[in-house]
């Protein structure tokens, strides 16, 4: 299995406070990694840093994605290289329709790969197929991006976008929060359907619940800006049972 992502000694600060204190993580093609950990441990910061959110500043370390240094890339280029973040709090953008947004995003990615713009009919077909996969109402995609969407609709819309853009590495930042059990099943089924041997996913979650549906190969525990424990799927079950205390205060 080829390596997809290699994070080495990553340190990052936000508002002068160090949040990531030396993260090391390798993700290979075909793998699903779960990152768990208590509130404030740096899980969302890691997702933000991987995608290039300008609010976070990387002070040390490197992130190689397909052997290219991500830290030298603009956020849009990272996305076009194949990184996708399912936002914990998706942003509402009044005045930008879902259709225009997806067409623009898809065509930017195609342009980056030197491909032609997608034809109108192929685009509409793709939209319809992916909508059906996620059980998204056609009304929803004719509206402005996330505007007036319920919490569950927003999360589902994130996975819909992921399906449209077909990334090599998907990062799901607490995609399960705010989802009822039916929505969770649909979202997880979508994620599983999109998974393939040349792709990888990082699933950030508080709860074992999501991992019942999306089975991880590797589970990491992030605490105080470092990965303090790595294990197999059983680790998630153990955490569910015992909490984090036994790891934090051994």
């Amino acid at each position: 299995m080829a390596n997809l992502l290699k994070i080495k000694n990553l340190h990052a600060i936000v508002e002068n406070k160090e949040i990531l204190k030396g993260i090391n993580l390798e993700v290979n093609e075909g793998e699903i990694h779960a990152i768990m950990g208590p509130n404030g441990s740096g899980k969302s910061t890691l997702a933000s840093v991987l995608t290039g959110n300008p609010k976070y500043e990387v002070t040390r370390g490197s992130i190689l994605f397909k052997e290219k240094e991500l830290l030298d890339m603009e956020p849009a280029d990272r996305a076009r290289e194949g990184i996708f973040l399912s936002f914990q709090y998706p942003i509402e953008i009044p005045g930008v329709s879902m259709v225009n947004f997806m067409r623009a995003a898809l065509n930017e990615q195609r342009k980056y790969r030197g491909e032609e713009q997608i034809s109108a009919s192929n685009f509409l077909k793709l939209m319809r197929d992916k909508r059906e996969l996620l059980g998204i109402d056609s009304q929803l995609v004719s509206r402005s991006v996330n505007e007036g969407f319920s919490g569950g609709e927003k999360k589902r819309n994130e996975i819909f976008q992921m399906a449209m853009l077909d990334p090599a590495l998907a990062i799901l930042d607490e995609t399960d929060s705010g989802l009822d059990i039916d929505a969770l099943r649909i979202v997880a089924a979508g994620v599983n359907a999109l998974h393939s041997p040349e792709k990888a996913a990082i699933v950030i979650t508080h709860y074992q619940r999501l991992l019942d549906y999306i089975e991880p190969d590797v589970v990491h525990v992030l605490y105080d800006g470092r990965i303090i424990k790595t294990g197999g799927p059983d680790l998630a079950l153990e955490l569910e049972e015992k909490g984090y205390d036994w790891l934090v205060n051994p």
Partner: protein, 448 residues
Amino acid sequence: MIEQQYIDLFNDYRSEIDANSVAGLNRHREAAFEAFNKSGFPTSKLEDYKHTDVSRVFDGDLGLNLRNIPVPVDPYEAFKCDVPNLNTNVYFLINDRFYTNGRRQGPLPEGVFAGSLQEFSETHPGAFNSCYAKIADYSGNGNGVVAYNTMFAQDGFVIYVPENVILEKPLQLINILRGGVDLNVNRRILIVAEKNAQVKLLVCDHTVDDVQFVVTQVVEVVADRGAQVDFYELEENSEKVKKLNNVYSEQKENSNVTVSGITLHNGFTRNNYRFRLLGEHAEAHIGGLAICDKEQHVDNFAFLDHSVPNCLSNELFKYSLQDSATGVFCGRILVEKDAQKTLAYQNNKNLCVSEEARMFSKPQLEIYADDVKCSHGLTTGQLDEDAMFYLQARGIPKEEARMLLMVAFTQDVVDLIRIDTLRDRLVQLINKRFRGELIRCGNCNVCK
């Protein structure tokens, strides 16, 4: 005194002004002249003109085409203009004159008049006399521009729709500025919708020549009981144009007047909107959008007067300012003592995307009735950083993300427009405007 040269001009050329106009318009010159003598042009000493000194606009050597010397242009040739699928009649004002080359327009329903103000005053004296210079008040401080316009106006455009007639298709009026020397243009537009009549008028402004223009425009809108009037203005003037626009509207019961002023490109613009809701259950919707960069200046002043109960007014003004552009908004809502159950909403949202851009905004609510719903909102800020990142995180480069958000910002003003094809066209024009692809005047951008 800046006014003196215009006072002299008026006195010296009075007979020629009259000779090249008609009795209906000439009748008002004396009173307008007296009013202008008293008020002069508004200066920035007046609170309502604090950021827009009108008197300075006239401080220059401007010509007036009082003798109606023909301007050499055939707009039917120069402007292949029809909004796609709008499929409508197109009329022209060249500077301040109605233009016709005898070409026949498509048929209009019986009784409808669309054409020259001069002609209308003679063929429809009753309607003309009850409206012209009656809706647009030129007395009093701050109305100097309307007085000035009434002194010098010699022609203009009229759309008159008699009782119960519905004009399904919108009409388009194209204002063309042409001249070999710096010019002052004084233009009138009259929109009369009788009981239950309906009309939609789109007015597009274009500059052809690269000289200074000072344009005063007075628009009078009369909406009788149950009438519906849509009046959309699209300004695409050169940076050398200073436009002083005054839109006056009077509405009877159950009427609906929807006005949108879209400034796509300009030099210096002041739009005064004065709306009077005189009959119950009347609705007024006013939208304004200004896209400005470089040194451009747009000042919208809206005065909504609710004097009777159960009326609704809704205002939405948005400004997108770059470089050293200046935006000014003043929204005054007056709810008089008897105007119970009034609904009056006002919203002003502004985007200042450069450090030098300036926005001055002032909501003013004056409410004397006690059972009303009135609200106003005002925000001025930059592009939403979270939205910027969200778009980029999907692979849309920064500059493109910025474009998307700037265009998105204008969307709700565009949505107020009730002509589908115009809305679609406008979105494209706004896109081009932000990309700096627009404004090669010499052709109508609405139609290219």
